[in-house]
């Protein structure tokens, strides 16, 4: 049952990609760095290169964390929508399979937050 | 062990006679004084009797008046003309 209603019921999703003026949403979570309280919501052009995403979006987003300066993005272990995944830096977000409202997890083994407390 | 019922009353002059009556009628009741309120707990059942309250204050008392000073309660409620009780069935 999609909804308990008194009669016929038609609903429209409020966050479909066409409502974001050519952009798509991507969520980014840096694991073991809970000083950032939640994953970020990032509105991005689907044709943005993954390399540009790293330089122009991901790096500034995490810059305030003391660990940020030590992150080697070539070594980051990624998950895309909870599946292990290896990005192609020269390809676009779309070509990398990152869809609207996809969630990226980045793990940085060896970097475990403020004094290793996962913060 | 039976579950505990409870009632919290505002800590004021009005409540004092009720608390005294509860202690008289419910030997197992435990009275706790907390910031600005009085909490009374008992195992299984708690009763407030009109007669006892009236005996303490020496004036007529309508049980429904008490609801003005109740902050919270836990248990099944039974309200009669001459008593108010809380109980769990387990």
């Amino acid at each position: 049952m999609p909804v308990t209603a008194i009669g016929p019921y038609a609903a429209q999703a409020l966050d479909s990609q066409d409502r974001f003026h050519g952009l798509q949403l991507v969520y980014l979570c840096w694991e073991k760095h809970l000083m950032f309280c939640a994953p970020f919501t990032l509105p991005l052009p689907p044709h943005m290169l993954f390399a540009d995403f790293i330089e122009q979006v991901a790096k500034p987003a995490i810059a305030q964390h003391p660990d940020a300066q030590w992150v080697d993005f070539a070594q980051v272990q990624w998950r895309l929508d909870e599946q292990p995944w290896t990005p192609d830096p020269g390809a676009s977000l779309q070509a990398n399979g990152i869809g609207h409202k996809s969630l990226l997890h980045m793990a940085t083994p060896g970097l475990n937050g403020l004094a290793g407390t996962c913060n | 062990m039976k579950s505990r019922v409870y009632i919290n009353l505002q800590d004021n002059d009005y409540a004092r006679a009720i608390v005294e009556a509860i202690v008289q009628d419910n030997p197992g009741a435990e009275v706790q004084h907390q910031p600005s309120m009085i909490r009374i707990e008992a195992e299984g059942r708690l009763e407030i009797r009109r007669e006892t309250v009236e005996g303490i204050t020496a004036s007529p008392w309508d049980i429904q008046e008490m609801l003005m000073y109740v902050i919270t309660l836990g248990g099944n409620v039974e309200e009669e003309d001459d008593r108010f009780s809380l109980h769990w069935n387990n």
């Binding site: 429209q12 000083m35 919501t41 990032l42 | 429904q64 902050i71 009669e80």
Partner: protein, 518 residues
């Protein structure tokens, strides 16, 4: 002739409520009460409805009028004596800002909800109880606004609470909770609000918070709180009677009620995160920790309740174990959200003082020092260097509770909890199994959620940058109503009122960068 002088309470109640009801003869029952059937609840005999409080309308008005007289006398005394100047500390008022914009509008929604379901039930006992509760809720809205109007003369952020409730990102958490209940059928509404919220969880909202107000010198709030609670005892009892009545009416009702209890326990628990945060972080003089309050008012009191309901085939709510684990974590996680997004709130945030940090360590011995203290000490060190931390990005929100995905996995406090589901080709994200389950059962309802972050990014909240959304769409004045407490106009004003009081808040440099991230 024997004339009986007075009716006793039972007889009077029967005459003045149920005896005023009648059976319709020229309209069909289902046309008059069109909402009574579609949820699948089966009522065979409304006369089995028990009214524990045999309160008739005339008695109701008499006592409510007396409550109001007492209450307003105290409001007058409080304001005539400049009660706001003798609070424990001005930081306390930030809890009131959260209360006025987050909770008071819910009282209004409760009024709307009970007025509607009172109309929709064909049982006279249920209708009268809902009618009284609707009027109670309206009274609560009014008394809260009156109590806060005094604070509004002297503090920031209280000026437009109803407007903010409809728009501000974190206020969509309480707003959507109640709208979810009000857009359900009448029986789900009662299970949600009367039982799951009023009976099972509301003590956690009012009792510790009101004691907290008493402990922090806020006589006005204590008084409206206790005045409201005197109605609440009646509401709680209605909640319990509703559940017992529905369960006794038909065995087919049991699984439906169980699912609603599961859903609304979880929704209420998530909502109360805000209250827990208020208790642990926003009361300068603490009464009890969230963890302690959860122990007394949920684990103990709820334990007795669910034991009592066992014989109807009802078990404790699903995911109750996760809530019991969460009590050690959620308030610290919530304060972290508000601290780093304080550029977009209608209240100030701050880092706990040394004493407060020690209190938290003592109350949360298994979690605070290892997981949360390092984060707070880091932020405090940044603040002392004049680099107060604000998060310039927007957070990812749960599709159901609409809280940022800031809660940790029940079995791993160093990993953020995340669940997702697909519906009609679209991805949806959740903070927990509890929220995910709610979505999966009625996806068509929740794909319409108005998620504030997504709405900002769609351009539906005015400007493209956070500062203009906050200023123009929320009507929050940047630099006055929001950001860090230390060095705020409110902090300075408090110091002007108390020139000799150096102990209440630690001296610290003002916050030169506080507008930078907006």
């Amino acid at each position: 002739m024997a004339v009986k002088k007075r009716l006793n309470a039972k007889e009077k109640y029967r005459c003045m409520t149920r005896d005023l009801d009648w059976e319709p003869s020229y309209q069909r029952h289902e046309d008059i009460y069109p909402h009574e059937r579609f949820e699948g609840i089966k009522i065979t005999d409304w006369d089995k409805w028990e009214d524990p409080f045999r309160l008739t309308m005339d008695t109701y008005w008499k006592y409510q009028a007396e409550k109001e007289k007492k209450l307003y006398a105290i409001f007058d005394a409080f304001s005539q004596n400049n009660g706001h100047t003798t609070l424990s500390d001005a930081r306390y008022v930030n809890a009131l800002k959260l209360f006025l914009s987050g909770v008071t509008p819910l009282e209004y929604q409760a009024y709307q909800g009970f007025a509607r379901v009172g109309r929709q039930f064909s049982g006279a006992g249920a209708r009268v109880a809902c009618q009284m509760q609707a009027i109670d809720e309206l009274r609560h809205v009014q008394t809260q606004i009156h109590a806060m109007s005094h604070y509004n003369k002297h503090f920031n952020g209280l000026h437009d609470f109803a407007h903010m409730h409809d728009r501000v990102w974190f206020l969509s958490v309480p707003k959507s909770f109640f709208e979810d209940a009000r857009t359900a059928g009448p029986f789900e509404f009662l299970t949600a609000i009367s039982f799951s919220f009023e009976y099972v969880l509301t003590n956690l909202l009012f009792v510790p918070f009101m004691s907290g107000a008493a402990f922090n010198g806020d006589m006005a709030t204590v008084t409206f709180g206790f005045s409201a609670q005197s109605d609440e005892a009646r509401h709680m009892t209605l909640g319990l009677e509703v559940i017992k009545f529905l369960l006794e009416q038909h065995e087919d009702n049991v699984p439906i009620i169980q699912r609603w209890i599961d859903k609304w326990f979880w929704r209420g628990y998530r909502l109360l995160t805000l209250v827990g945060m208020m208790m642990d972080y926003m009361l300068p003089n603490k009464v009890m920790s969230w963890s302690e309050a959860w122990g007394v008012y949920f684990e103990e009191a709820g334990g007795a309740l669910f034991k009592d309901l066992e014989r109807y085939g009802i078990r404790p709510p699903k995911y109750v174990e996760e809530a019991n684990i969460g009590k050690e974590h959620i308030t610290h996680q919530a304060w972290s959200i508000f601290y780093q997004y304080s550029q977009a709130t209608n209240f100030h945030t701050w880092m706990p003082t040394d004493e407060e940090l020690d209190w938290l360590s003592e109350k949360y011995p298994d979690t605070f020092d290892s997981l949360y203290r390092p984060r707070f000490e880091h932020w405090r060190a940044l603040q002392e260097k004049g680099e107060r931390f604000y998060n310039p990005t927007l957070p990812m929100l749960c599709q159901i509770c609409q809280i940022p995905l800031a809660f940790s996995e029940p079995d791993d406090p160093t990993t953020l909890s995340h669940r997702s589901a697909e519906h009609a080709g679209e991805r949806y994200h959740f903070c927990s199994d509890g929220c995910c389950d709610i979505f999966q059962y009625e996806p068509e309802k929740y794909i319409q959620a108005w998620l504030p972050v997504h709405q900002i990014l769609q351009g539906n909240c005015g400007g493209a940058d956070v500062e203009s959304v906050v200023r123009d769409y929320y009507n929050i004045t940047p630099g006055e109503d929001n950001f860090e407490y230390l060095g705020s106009t409110e902090h300075r004003r408090w110091q002007d009122w108390h020139p000799n009081d150096k102990g209440s808040t630690p001296a610290s440099p003002a916050d030169p960068d506080r507008r930078q991230t907006a």
